[in-house]
């Protein structure tokens, strides 16, 4: 009989196996899901779109690395979450945003919104959206200058001579669907993304493709995006501005950042509820506030602020929306409560 005494055994608690998926692989999947939209934005706005994204990603990664380094915390850039934040931040900016603005935005996203609260998983608001909100307040000019579809933006230097145009969202905000249609924008332009707008948002098709990839890979669950999009669809269909409910609804769904918000922003793990039921409530809330801002607010787009507001309610939703306890049937619970 062999003596197994010289084995160096470690005795840890069960389970002894783990699934292959880890934080890094999840973030990698999110990055992959964003590539179609990135590709489209390069085609739509030129190489500057790629440059803006790269600068944003590098800025976010460097800020995170620097923060962890200076505070002597375990390094965390390897989990790729800063890359995701960087891409998302670029995706919600116009192509002509200044590089300086996006570096400052990256600082706000990574350091203020995320690291000051403890890093990944601890932030209570979506870092990319906070960065954008801050940039919109501080760099209002560059953040609201929208290059026309396939207008050639310079890679460096002044972008003042770029052909700009009102985005479909500003027509919709002015309740002027007819004006938008008259300007030559068709529904398929909206869906494919042959319009002006933020980098990663213009092509609903590409964003949806990425969203379907995330759903198929089980990175996100269907609850939030479905609740969000359905709420916006129902509200805009019931209360159209104009005669054609259906067209109005579809323009609202494909315009602005709704698809990017629903699939990539509202599904952010750290800032959305953990239960399916909670995610439905959260998605509906996002939809309500989005339509509210689009209809009654002074901004033409409400996705960013609606998600930020619902982020703040996430802790509350998680506190009160609990899974049904195993072995307790709903009717029994009611009976027990009424006794």
């Amino acid at each position: 009989m062999t003596d197994y005494k010289n084995l160096k055994l470690i005795a840890t608690s069960s389970p002894h196996i783990r699934s292959a998926e880890n934080t890094r692989s999840i973030m990698l999947d999110v990055i992959i899901a964003m590539l179609p939209a990135l590709g489209w934005s390069v085609w739509a706005f030129g190489v500057r779109a790629l440059m803006v994204t790269c600068v944003s990603v590098i800025a976010c990664v460097v800020w995170e690395w620097l923060y962890r380094k200076l505070l002597k915390r375990p390094q965390s850039v390897g989990d790729l979450s800063a890359v995701v934040t960087g891409m998302l931040l670029a995706f919600v900016c116009p192509v002509d945003v200044t590089y300086f603005a996006i570096i400052v935005g990256g600082f706000f996203s990574i350091v203020v919104a995320k690291q000051l609260f403890g890093g990944i998983g601890k932030n209570f608001v979506n870092p990319a959206l906070v960065g954008r909100a801050m940039m919109l307040a501080s760099f209002a000019g560059t953040m609201t200058t929208w290059a026309q579809f396939q207008a050639k933006s310079h890679l460096f230097g002044s972008t003042a001579d770029v052909v700009t145009a009102a985005t479909p969202m500003s027509y919709l905000h002015a309740k002027n669907l007819q004006g938008l249609l008259d300007s030559g924008v068709t529904l398929s332009d909206m869906f494919l993304g042959r319009i002006g707008g933020s980098l990663g948002e213009v092509s609903a098709l590409m964003v949806i493709a990425g969203g379907i990839y995330l759903l198929a890979r089980k990175i996100i669950s269907w609850h939030t995006p479905v609740a969000y999009i359905a709420t916006v669809a129902v509200l805009t269909f019931i209360f159209p501005r104009g005669n054609d409910s259906l067209t109005w609804m579809l323009f609202n769904l494909f315009g602005g950042g709704l698809m990017l918000g629903a699939f990539f922003m509202a599904t952010d793990y750290a800032t959305s509820p953990v239960t399916g039921k909670g995610q439905l409530i959260y998605g509906i809330g996002c939809g309500l506030i989005t339509v509210f801002i689009r209809y009654f607010g002074s901004y033409s787009e409400g996705v960013c602020y609606s998600i930020l507001m619902m982020n703040l309610l996430t802790a509350l939703i998680d506190k009160y929306v609990k899974p049904q306890r195993f072995g307790v049937v709903k009717s029994e619970k009611k009976e027990a409560a009424s006794k």
């Binding site: 009989m1 062999t2 003596d3 197994y4 005494k5 084995l7 160096k8 055994l9 470690i10 005795a11 840890t12 608690s13 069960s14 389970p15 002894h16 196996i17 783990r18 699934s19 292959a20 998926e21 880890n22 934080t23 692989s25 999840i26 375990p74 965390s76 989990d79 979450s81 890093g119 990944i120 998983g121 669950s221 793990y269 750290a270 509820p273 953990v274 239960t275 399916g276 998680d318 609990k322 899974p323 049904q324 306890r325 195993f326 072995g327 307790v328 049937v329």
Partner: protein
């Protein structure tokens, strides 16, 4: 296909290493070490002393209260009665028998004259004396489950899910000894007075299902094989009941609360052998597998066989082996020594030499909620983890931590590799300690109040 349960995970089943290998009989060990605690309940008292000669099937440990007797698994001389390491951690009183290799059968082992004419009471008595316990790993005394369930149980379920990765003992039993399973199921039906027994089997064991169906057809047995979704923890008692009946066992309750009784495949075979041949539990089928094992096998050996003998029979271990597990990879216990014996509940011995755990240095919860979606008893592991790590007992109770069955699904799925299940084991202990402390404090206060009262009267 039957209804599913909520949650769960899909680990790679890793069964291909052994599921086509027939159960081999291990060469008789020179010595067996039989622990006096192989069941849920108080340990047995040894009834033999050093120097005694024992035969196979002779009772060597008597139980008190909740438990089951323990029998000699080989014939030979008692060499020692002393505490030895065992698979549940630490040392336990054990009877060490030196094998004389004669395999003499004890006079206590007698095949009943007419097994089919026995009354329910007689059958339960036989199950009790045969030392049968839940052989899937829970080791709850089977006679208690049967006598406690008669009257309230209308669904008898045989657990052939074998949902833990690597383990193939039940699968091989289905293929090689289907008549024992079906025979045992028929006796269980008789004992509970039900007209149908359901065998739940994960559908990755198609040939096992066919093999049992053949015997059922031949015998016209009141048994139905139900293929189940392949998902961990399908073989959890509560999950199996849910999948078969659609009903949920209430919190803190037993399956009998919803009219179910669940028996493992091995347990069912043991019942059959006890009733037809009078043989107590003295042998066990063990799957020896994992990346550290050179030639994985299914082995049948006497209870008390040192694990080293099993490993030797499988070509030994690779040098880089760093983990030895008694049981499956999801719920089994990692061992600090190979000097442990096979017990009644040991279904597998696994050795790992690669980084199956994929540990990370600073796990950070990313709040993905995958643990919530995976928890088969609808808990929220991520919040429980935070409370448990801060010792917040009240909050843990509010989140129903005591419902946690430590199946490990949350830890398995966690992309951040948090040590969730481990934290809940300690968290549950915190809750128990607090409850005990509260009780003690209340008793003390009551006693003081009574003493005061007495003083007043005096």
């Amino acid at each position: 296909m039957a209804q599913a349960f909520f949650g769960g995970v899909h680990p790679h089943d890793m069964k291909a290493a052994t599921n086509e290998k027939a159960i081999e009989q291990l060469a008789p060990p020179a010595e067996v070490v039989i622990p006096m605690s192989m069941h849920f309940g108080a340990p047995c008292t040894p009834v033999v002393k050093v120097g005694d000669h024992v035969k196979v099937g002779q009772k060597i440990g008597e139980f008190h209260g909740l438990g089951a007797p323990i029998h000699a698994s080989v014939s030979g001389t008692v060499k020692a009665v002393e505490p030895r390491p065992y698979s549940m951690g630490g040392n336990i009183m054990s009877v060490v028998i030196e094998n004389d290799m004669k395999d003499e059968l004890s006079e206590e082992v007698k095949a009943p004259a007419n097994p089919d004419a026995m009354t329910v009471e007689e059958m339960i008595e036989i199950v009790k004396n045969a030392g049968i316990v839940g052989m899937g790993g829970a080791t709850f005394p089977t006679h208690v489950k049967i006598s406690g369930g008669i009257g309230s149980v209308d669904t008898v379920i045989i657990n052939g899910a074998e949902c833990e990765p690597y383990i193939t003992g039940d699968h091989r039993t289905m293929l090689e000894r289907p008549e024992e399973i079906i025979g045992g199921a028929i006796y269980l039906a008789k004992m509970f007075g039900v007209d149908k027994v359901v065998i739940g089997v994960e559908d990755n064991k198609r040939n096992g299902i066919d093999s049992m169906n053949k015997v059922i057809a031949e015998k016209h047995a009141p048994v139905v094989v139900e293929p189940l979704h392949c998902r961990y923890p399908q073989g959890g008692e509560k999950q199996l009941c849910q999948a078969v009946t659609g009903k949920q066992v209430p919190p803190g309750g037993l399956p009998s609360a919803i009219g179910c009784a669940v028996f493992n495949i091995n347990t069912t075979c043991a019942i059959y052998r006890a009733i037809t041949q009078g043989i107590p539990v003295v042998r066990k089928v063990v799957t020896v597998s994992g990346s550290g094992v050179i030639d994985p096998k299914n082995l049948e050996c006497p209870i008390g066989t040192p694990v080293a003998n099993l490993l030797d029979a499988c070509g030994g271990l690779k040098e880089t082996t760093y983990k030895l597990i008694a049981g499956g990879p999801m719920m089994g216990m990692a061992q600090y020594t190979a000097e442990i014996p096979v017990a009644k509940g040991t279904g597998a011995i696994l050795a790992f030499c690669e980084d199956e755990e994929q540990t990370v240095e600073h796990p950070q919860c990313i709040r993905c909620g995958k643990c919530v979606a995976a928890c088969p008893v609808h808990l929220e592991p991520l919040f429980m983890y935070q409370y448990a790590s801060k010792g917040m007992v009240e909050e843990l109770n509010e989140l129903h931590i005591m419902d946690c069955m430590e199946c490990g699904a949350c830890s398995y799925i966690c992309p951040a590799r948090m040590h969730l299940t481990h934290m809940f084991k300690t968290g549950k202990q915190l809750v128990k300690n607090k409850a005990a402390a509260d009780k003690a404090a209340a008793e003390k206060a009551a006693a003081e109040a009574a003493a005061k009262e007495q003083k007043k009267e005096a």
